[in-house]
Amino acid sequence: MHAFFGLIRHDLRLAARQGGDIGLVLGFFVLAVMLFPFGVGPEPELLRRIAAGIIWVAALLAAVLSLDRLFAADHADGGLDLIALSAMPLELAVLARGAAHWLTTGLPLVVVSPLLALFLDLDSAALPALVLGLLLGTPAMSLIGAIAAALSLGARRPGVLMTLLVLPLYLPPLIFGTGAVEASLSAEGARAHLLLLAALMLAALPLAPFAAAAALRQALD
């Protein structure tokens, strides 16, 4: 466990020292959302209706943008060898890295999302469903992203390959996340969608580290 928390602490320290990484992801998220009123026209009715979709898609793309941070740098500079040789299983190391990635990208996205929701005039009754949905969906996105990031190591255009691999896998959180916001405004309630998002996260929590660790071993061999 000492190695596990050591890796998280290292990643957080690195992210804090290179603050640009978090800023870049957040900047992308905010700018991508701000483009929509210009693209579709500033009609509050329309924006209110598509606000949840805009925020979720922008968050998803911002997450993809940050995935190359997961393993690429360590693969290039030899740090991955040392992680593979550490006292913890590689699966646990992937989990630690995923946790650090979520803390430095997913969590900031969740924190900023209510502001963007207000900006798009989303009904404030839907805010809890949006934030809760993102809170459950972004960890799953970090974990699933770890698989794609590990698989694309050593590819000639890793960024493009990673995006192609990961976007289809992000469909379920997107569907249930936007569904939760929609449902929270109807009599149905967001509960079912949020439970499905939680299930997604709980499934990714043990499965993704195994898949990503297997891909990392391939990349090291």
Partner: protein, 220 residues
């Protein structure tokens, strides 16, 4: 006498290594007893680095096996990994962090709770730069930092790939001192190198003697 928890005896049996379609070497046997030293020589591309990565379990051998204290490494890879240090060409040093932070991180990865920072920095002459950002370090200083983790968190087996590269004469002397202290304490070391390195009583193996002849079938 030995500070290490268990006897350190590493044996490689009939090892073969394949990179892509090419069989790099085959039929390689080696033994690294406690206090022992192994020097691997051979021209570029003969498989020195591959052999060290294989000994570090970073590569899977195409044939043969590793024995750690008589038991196959494949049975308890985690236990074996805890007993080795691997220092390769790439140092994994992050420009934004300080040598102290890097060393603390590496030691934590090894599970060491109280890394011997002072001893490690003193052994490789890094005291002055210990709290600078690593981006200010020269190539030689980065190499020294990578080697300092050998001292910061002790492990019985050292696998060093061209440890002398980028080091000045002072750095080489410090490395030799660290290795002889390590061996005196019952540790062992395997070094792949081009530069002659004075290791008393070391076994020297020329790895090109185990090269597979061209056209050798891929089956080993």
């Amino acid at each position: 006498m030995s500070p290490f928890a268990e006897a350190a005896d590493l044996v490689g049996e009939n090892l073969a290594c394949r990179r892509g379609e090419r069989l790099v070497f085959r039929g390689f046997d080696c033994r690294l007893p406690a206090g022992g030293a192994l020097v691997l020589t051979g021209p570029n591309g003969s498989g020195k680095s591959s052999l060290l990565r294989l000994l570090a379990t970073l590569l899977t051998p195409a044939a043969g096996r590793l024995l750690w204290n008589g038991a196959p490494v494949a049975q308890d890879p985690a236990g074996y990994r805890g007993a080795i240090h691997y220092v390769g060409h790439l140092d994994g040093v992050k420009p934004a962090l300080t040598p102290r932070e890097m060393l603390g991180f590496w030691a934590a990865l090894q599970g060491a709770r109280r890394p011997a920072f002072d001893a490690a920095f003193a052994a490789f002459g890094l005291d002055r730069v210990a709290d600078w950002p690593c981006r200010w370090l020269s190539a030689g200083q980065r190499k020294r930092l990578a080697l300092a983790r050998l001292v910061a968190a002790p492990a019985p087996v050292w696998l060093l790939d061209e440890p002398g590269a980028a080091l000045d004469t002072d750095g080489e002397a410090r490395l030799e001192m660290a290795i002889s202290a390590h061996r005196a304490a019952g540790g062992s070391v395997a070094v792949a190198t081009h530069q002659p390195i004075p290791l008393p009583g070391a076994t020297t193996l020329a790895i090109d003697a185990f090269a597979a002849p061209p056209g050798d079938p891929l089956t080993v």
